[in-house]
Point group: C2
Chain length 259, copies 2
């Protein structure tokens, strides 16, 4: 029923309040051939309500990985997609659920992929959304648009299964070939930290107030899907810059000491 490609796809639920939704999500996953569930700081888990809603998908629930932070749940992934309502201030590359399924299925043949879902009441925070390569929006009735969490998981898991079928029939759209594997999320997050630190040392960013500029830089580098060699070039540039600052600072201090 399941193939190794399905095993490269994980669904991540962030800060879920109601354990029933965790059970419902587990069931939706298993129905569609998926099995990897990550729970970031769930309010209540393990819980009887989760077991009850999971019905025959208790194995998915038992194997669920509980972590404290989103970074732990997605660090080794080469692609991260976050569910989002429309209309964020700085728009991110946006796919619909079908495109999401196709892209997730395509990339899962090469590396781990995460689809992340936010809190029942407030979704994902901006900071969480800025860790994503793409955002996905499930279209819904404008007058009644709040999808239940397990229902949202169901729709996106279904589209992954549809993509797996489309691929068997040779109907998956063609994706680009690339010469290098993508940098994983951990490597990208370390790059963003290194970048912000360097820009602060240069005086380009105020230590207290990096937000808008860093958000735009995050969007830029998340959107381009940095490959591993590109990331290492960019890290090299930051290291060269910091080395330059370190050595000139030292020389200036030595000169002052001589004065």
């Amino acid at each position: 029923m399941s193939t190794p490609i399905f095993d490269n796809i994980r669904v991540v639920l962030v800060n879920t309040s109601h354990p029933g939704n965790i059970g419902g999500a587990a069931r939706a996953l298993k129905n569609m051939g998926l099995s990897r569930l990550y729970l970031v700081a769930p309010k209540e888990f393990p819980a009887d309500k989760a077991v009850w809603r999971a019905a025959g998908a208790q194995d998915v629930l038992e194997q669920a990985v509980v972590v404290d932070t989103l970074d732990e749940a997605i660090g080794d992934c080469g692609l991260v997609v976050g569910t989002s309502a429309r209309g964020r201030r700085i728009p991110w590359p946006l796919v619909n659920p079908r495109e999401c399924g196709e892209r997730v299925w395509h990339e899962a043949q090469q590396h781990d992929v995460a689809v992340i879902f936010g809190r029942e009441d407030r979704g994902l925070t901006n900071e969480e959304l800025h860790k994503c390569n793409y955002h996905v929006h499930i279209p819904s009735n404008e007058e009644y648009s709040s999808l239940n969490l397990a229902a949202a998981v169901q729709v996106l898991a279904y589209e992954v299964r549809m993509a797996s079928i489309a691929e068997k029939e040779g109907k998956l759209p063609k994706f680009e070939d690339w010469d290098m594997p993508p940098a994983n999320r951990d490597a990208q997050e370390r790059y963003f930290e290194h970048l912000q630190e360097t820009l602060e040392k240069l005086g380009f960013l105020e230590p207290g107030n990096p937000r808008q500029t860093m958000t735009r830089l995050r969007r830029l580098y998340n959107r381009v899907r940095l490959d591993q060699m590109e990331l290492s070039i960019l890290r090299g540039v930051l290291t060269a810059t910091q080395n330059y600052i370190f050595h000139t600072d030292k020389k200036l201090k030595d000169a002052e000491d001589r004065d």
Copy 2:
């Protein structure tokens, strides 16, 4: 016959040897509703052979803009696509002729777009191809793959026309909305110069030998389609870096003078 959107699309022929091909290209353009032809350092132009092959498209030929360098022909464009044979060492984002037509037509509604064609015998140089956002490859018989220049122009101009028809019928694929217009080619080229200069001053690039690293950085920033605000942030980072280098150099020199 023509609409303002067609007028935002230019075909650029680089270093054409045979004026007959220029005439043939002019005719192909006019047949498909296009009219803007740029000639970068043509070997022989104006020429009777061009007029003869242009047949009823002499107006396109007469309005053709002759320039010395590729940069002059594409500087104000927000999208540049270069025709390329397959199998370059560092692969660039690649589209097929249909995708090329759709993207060109879509973007021409917002800004100027260039499709560039190389020499009859050797195509575009790597340096020229590295100024492009996308490469386009016309599929052909592997045993007889050399398309005549005017024929290649014909195919890509035809796909632009097909896209214009698809749009009328509501069949153009959906492209992403963005909050900022793209940086034009001139601004991007100035960024690459600024970047290379800064990396050399930092000692990250050898002044004599920037090639492979700069090529990968060019690919990265061409692929991401930098918008105007992103470009201005990146330029700001370079300026801050150069200012830092300038001021510390000065301070160090002053300190030496005091010794």
